[in-house]
Symmetry: C2
């Protein structure tokens, strides 16, 4: 039995072993280290543990029992029977926060700024009404072939635990079979001439982005980001001390400019959050900018797997002849919410340093089992079959939501043309006050969505709100109900 | 079918759609983006994909087939049939490395310094001889109850994928049930008054240490580490820009001093790598030092679960009344090599900022399935049953190796007294040259171990080598064979 009490600390202060043991146990009980119902070792075990005679332990147990701290029953064992009047406060002073590094201080300040207003409002909707949450991002779970996936997972679990002598920790770079499968997939489905040796697996795309931020941003360095853009990564750049240049976007995505910066973060294949697709001319301009400024581009292809209609453009990485683009992909939208697997296609010269950066946090992958499951799933063609199936399901929901939003809410929102992805974005047409009113009315009725806002004029006067609506987790019926409710609620 | 070729790039430069399609496919084939045997979409699919007429696609396919790039068979589909004379070089310029941040540069330099000499020598042993690798750290796999663990894993996998609508991403802090189980375990087995709310789960202890380094170390800050000590974490501190003060250790662990530093990394319960246990007086001195200097202590309890004999001392965390100790634990020695689960017991004031730091890399856990499996395993008492069983097995191996090393190699090594853990440490008695000779002789015979070295004199003149021998993966027979071989090989 694993058991520990501060016996030796007490022994140093007490006149006898018996007293030290008694006080150590009693204080553990009164201070809630040993809580009600905890089983204590037998007197034989405890005696062996601390080199005491069994008689001493029995004596101490008898003392504690007589005072009501513990109870013993023959054949049952000895248990704590004392409930402290109140939980021990265990308050720590807050001086540790003064020890934070600059990184820690920036992180903390950013955390304190994070106020998603819609998250703070407690929704209480009346009888007969239903909540519809357009905020839930990530893949739809109901249609996931869980039995098929789990069969694959079980087989890989058996392989990983089959008692062989070989250590199975996996390379920092990620499971080799998975790197191979991803390279094949990218060549075939995205036209990227990726070799497995250039691919590093991460715990989701955010780990790749955060490590890139560490590897390339010094405090004071300029980084170009999209506006509106992906707040999660912008905060990571800021925590790193980066100065973000907020590049405006329009219906064609980011507007190229002569930025003075060493890094550009961009979502060309489906702009986050608007869904705009960057046109070919601008793609070429971004690459030319990177070349002229000796800069790197982080291309986050976070949500272009599901293309509902229209043409698909080359990722920047395909056009990248100088090795200036780091292409980042993810399975977050196609597998299960708890599975965090992302990857980067790196210029060969950067593979080693990314591996070192990852190894500083985890020398071997923390999700090897799921990496292997995915590799085997991709190899068997099961992954693409799943994609085809989800594409049909998402395509129907996309079309439905798009038609409904256009038909019912076009007076309030200007919808951005989009052909892919798992959400639909619209700019609010009215004033900021009207938006806040509309959002609050809808929230009270249980209808929620995600939002962003930008400063419309350079003088910072107008604020323009944008809203985006995720659909993968909602049923078609919920989509219809939700949009109809929004129309009915309005600005009253 | 997911398929992508750079059609639109070519269209911008070509006179006709037909030519653009032809060149796009041909160049993909010659540049190995589409490799031999890759299946192409049907002409109907490809036409739909790029808004072409089916006739155009058929014409292009016929052109490519006549030139030998592809072959088609009725009912079989169309495949790439061209093997490029040599793999495309795809060489990237190395200018990206000039873009590295200071952190990136330090990391890269540290990586380049890492030369484990014994890893570089290719072992080729003759017939009849056997390799014995005392370098393999981590848990013994053969005795792991894999069927029992996997049953638990399958049950948790079903719960996580059962198609419910709820998103199951888990908190950044880690699975709640696991945090609870660890708190209970620490109270009972280690005497730490931990509450689940103070516990954060990490991908192994190294993630906890690396995030602590980020949170508390600014470039130029002083950090106290043990010498010899854990190179992995020392490099993380250095990459962060920390200046390491190397505190000497003796048979009682780290020797307290009046360091000027804000952070101390220490392994009091089993010093890495020597195995020395810090005595109670020094523990109190370290806490007094932290208090006087307003410093934090990182207590890494990496390998004290298996105590083979003797008494167990209170972790520093137990004695820490001011909340200056961050206690870091791990399951790396008790589960399977590929499972990376560690944790920290934090002062309450630091929980939030650690969660933010972790979320910068992964907003939700990347190994939720295994976290839940472990929680359920601990709750069922299976974890501690497993520990008891492994303790017996490791105890036998520990005793055997200790007796053999003492009996056969005490003229060369001065063995450090140790009562716990999965390795045995000895200081080399001879000269550095003799050590190198001995190591190289043993390596040639396939006997390997891990090593460390320190500068013995302050003037940097003598180098003192230490060697440590892991035993959990070796059979008792291999242990006997290995030590006997070492004795026989000697310095010839």
């Amino acid at each position: 039995m694993q058991f520990h009490i501060p016996y030796y600390s007490y022994l140093a202060q007490c006149s006898s072993k018996r007293l030290a043991l008694y006080q150590a146990i009693r204080d553990c009980i009164t201070s809630q280290v040993l809580v009600m119902e905890t089983k204590l070792p037998s007197s034989r075990e405890l005696a062996a543990l601390y080199g005491l005679s069994r008689g001493t332990v029995s004596e101490v147990y008898a003392m504690l029992a007589s005072e009501g701290y513990i109870t013993s029953g023959v054949g049952r064992g000895t248990f704590v029977s004392f409930q402290s009047p109140k939980q021990k406060g265990n308050e720590f002073p807050r001086q540790e926060l003064h020890l934070l590094s600059d990184w820690g201080v920036r992180l903390k300040e950013l955390q304190e700024q994070q106020t998603e207003p819609s998250e703070k409002i407690k929704v209480q909707i009346g009888g007969g009404q239903r909540a519809v949450n357009f905020q839930e991002f990530g893949p739809g779970i109901q249609a996931f072939p869980d039995k098929e996936w789990n069969r694959c997972l079980y087989a890989q679990a058996r392989l990983l635990t089959n008692g062989e002598r070989r250590s199975r920790m996996g390379s920092t770079l990620g499971d080799e079979a998975l790197r191979d499968s991803i390279a094949q997939y990218l060549r075939r489905a995205r036209g990227i001439a990726a070799k497995a040796s250039q691919i590093v697996i991460f715990n989701g795309s955010k780990q790749a982005l955060a490590l890139a931020a560490h590897l390339f941003i010094n405090p004071g360095d300029h980084v170009v980001v999209e506006s509106p853009g992906y707040r999660g990564v912008i905060d990571v750049f800021r925590a790193q001390g980066g100065r973000c240049i907020h590049a405006p976007i329009d219906g064609q995505g980011i507007i190229p400019d002569k930025w003075k910066a060493k890094l550009l973060f961009v979502t060309p294949n489906r702009q986050f959050p608007t869904g705009a697709v960057l046109n070919m001319e601008r793609r070429q301009q971004l690459l030319a900018w990177a070349s002229e400024n000796n800069a790197l581009i982080l291309e986050d292809d976070y949500d272009s797997v599901f293309r509902h209609r229209g043409k698909s453009l080359e990722p920047l990485k395909v056009l990248d002849s100088e090795g200036r683009v780091i292409y980042i992909g993810s399975f977050s939208n196609t597998l299960l919410p708890h599975i965090r697997i992302g990857y980067a296609v790196l210029p060969s010269s950067l593979v080693e340093v990314f591996a070192s950066a990852k190894a500083a946090f985890e020398p071997s992958p923390s999700n090897l089992l799921e990496q292997r499951t995915l590799a085997s799933w991709m190899n068997n063609g099961q992954y693409e079959r799943h994609l085809r199936r989800m594409k049909r399901i998402y395509g129907r929901k996309f079309k439905l939501l798009r038609e409904l939003l256009t038909a019912k809410l076009s007076s309030w929102f200007q919808w951005v043309e989009g052909d892919a992805g798992l959400s639909i974005f619209g700019w609010w047409n009215g004033t900021a006050d009207q938006y806040v009113q509309f959002r609050s009315n809808c929230l009270a009725a249980g209808i929620m969505w995600s939002e962003t806002c930008i400063e419309e004029q350079a003088d910072g006067n107008g604020i323009r709100y944008g809203a985006y609506f995720y659909f993968p987790r909602l049923s078609e019926e919920e989509i219809v109900y939700g949009v109809n409710r929004m129309q009915a609620i309005g600005l009253d």
